[in-house]
Amino acid sequence: MAETGVVRAGMMTAEEILAPSPGARLRKRIFGHFGLMLGGGVLLLIILMALLAGVLSPHDPYDQQLARKLIPPFWHTSPKVTWDHVLGTDHLGRDYLSRLLHGAQVSLIIGFAAMVISGVIGTVIGVLAGYFGGRVDMAVNFIITTRLSMPVVLVALAVVSIVGSSLTVVIWVLGLLIWDRFAVVMRSATQQVRSLEFVTAAEAVGCSPARILLTEIAPNVMNHLIVVATLEMAHAILLEAALSFLGLGVQPPTPSWGLMISEAKGLMYFDPWLISIPGVALFLLVLSINLVGDGLRDVSAPENRS
């Protein structure tokens, strides 16, 4: 291998040798993108907090102590403020910081799992429609149109209420509902790649459709897939929060950010921090995921590659 490298280097001009390698250029694009770095940093922090929730939590998130209920967070000047409960306690005297940390786990697990399920469904039907076209495309288009015409939140709520709520049910219901954007994007991305010459060449040498899909199409639509995956994960997290807020998502006493806001709804006029803390957490998580998605789109866009 080293030998071919030398031979190739011998044929390159001085400028080409001195120019940064493709990998270095990619690294420069990634690290030079402010939004991507900011979003990635915050997201990494939240993931770490979720992973280490058991270690970082100062208290048991389920431990109720009515004697210490509704302690305000540290920035308040109330005499009740204590460093033992940095972010205060809720209406049942449960430590808010511990619940927030464990709530991050719930959001991330549901968001990620629902994204994987919807990603598999949407990618499979989208790629098939884009590659085969014709009747397959028509059928897939019909399925997508039908799915889009049904209101997501309403159907999710109805199904959860009929089946009964649990973490698994919420994941499956969301996963089976939000694959539409995957399908739409993967369909058009596949259509684009399919019309390129290397696919025609692969067909000409007699490659099977399965081989073309896996080795020619898949690597070239991957960047679109990753971008949609991040955006849909954010979407799933927001939907879970909305379901939990309406009382049909994650069930108490499990700490979920949406549920925390729901439980604090009646108290928000007196203790507004009860809704602002989980609300800001939710906002930061979704914002960071969206920033990562937008950043990856910018970085992987072909016009930036030269």
Binding site: P151, G164, I261, F283
Partner: protein, 305 residues
């Protein structure tokens, strides 16, 4: 145009039929709807009675065809809880939700179109960047949390707007903002992209060369053409809003379809749930069909495809 319209209409009808099938099967997801209504720990005899009373003992295709046939005649069944025909209740509540949706989409368009035009006139300016940043921030805010925050500031601290109910127009201000803000970024981006494309075209250069006033070129010549895709987007988003209003209506206690849906979901009022999902889906199908027609009418190139 006729061939295109007929083809679209056929697809729309087929979608509506499929939606009706899915909506109907929704109550069978848990297996036995009679058991779901009776609740846990019900006596076998009671479950049997419920099954016979609501007709769950008939073959499933008979139930579906019966339900579909009645639905086509405007009979969507009787509510288990309200003891009234479902259709009556729904059409009593629908105008409120439509009004809320219309207010919300108006808010979104009034905010987003001028912002999009301004961003396109001066691309990559400070203004363009700020509005883009606001769009990114806006899309990350959970709508229910945004609604509660609005209530807290505008209703409780500053006492500017009523918090709940629907007695006056003022009651619709906060719900419309909470429902509409989520659409603004998409409309803004589309307006910006459309304007950028149109502004670089030849006829705009001609209009400018003729010495027309910049405002006239911008609004009469450019925006008119750039707005076409925005119309379709707004229609589709309006359809989404009707479904999404459930969260906003519950928070602001607006007695529309969303609130009704939430109540019936809480009480497991199956015919009501089915009917609301069906009605909202059909409205969405209708809206997208009309948007398609409007687009084809405005842009003849679409008709050929």
């Amino acid at each position: 145009m006729l061939a295109y319209s007929l083809k679209r209409l056929g697809v729309a009808l087929l979608v509506a039929l499929t939606v009706s099938l899915i909506t109907f099967s929704m109550i069978y997801i848990s297996g036995d709807p009679a058991l779901a209504i009776a609740g846990e720990g019900a006596r076998q005899q009671d479950v049997e009675n419920i099954r016979r009373f609501y007709g769950f003992d008939r073959p499933i295709y008979v139930q579906y065809l019966d339900w579909l046939w009645s639905a086509l005649h405007g009979d969507l069944g009787r509510s288990y809880n309200l003891r009234q025909p479902v259709a009556d209740v729904i059409f009593q509540r629908l105008p409120t939700t439509m009004l809320l949706g219309a207010c919300a989409i108006t808010f979104a368009l009034v905010l987003a179109i001028p912002l999009g035009v301004l961003a396109a006139v001066k691309p990559n300016s400070i203004f363009d960047r700020v509005s883009l940043t606001l769009a990114v921030i806006g899309q990350a805010m959970p709508s229910f949390w945004f609604a509660l925050t609005l209530i807290l500031w505008f209703g409780v601290y500053w006492r500017l707007l009523p918090i709940t109910g629907q007695d006056s127009w003022w009651n619709f201000v906060m719900p419309s903002i909470a429902l509409g803000y989520y659409v603004t970024p998409a409309v803004m981006r589309l307006t910006r992209a459309g304007m950028l494309e149109v502004l670089s075209s030849d006829y705009i250069r001609t209009a400018r060369a003729k010495g027309l006033k910049p405002m006239r070129v911008l609004f009469k010549h450019a925006l008119r053409n750039a707005i076409i895709p925005v119309v379709a987007l707004a229609a589709v988003q309006f359809g989404f809003m009707l479904g999404g209003s459930i969260v906003i209506e519950t928070i602001f206690q607006i007695n529309g379809l969303g609130y009704l849906a939430w109540e019936s979901i809480q009480r497991k009022d199956l015919p009501m749930m089915q009917a609301i999902v069906l009605v909202l889906s059909i409205i969405y199908v209708l809206i997208t069909f009309l948007a398609d027609m409007l687009n084809a009418f405005l842009d003849p190139r679409i008709r050929v495809a």
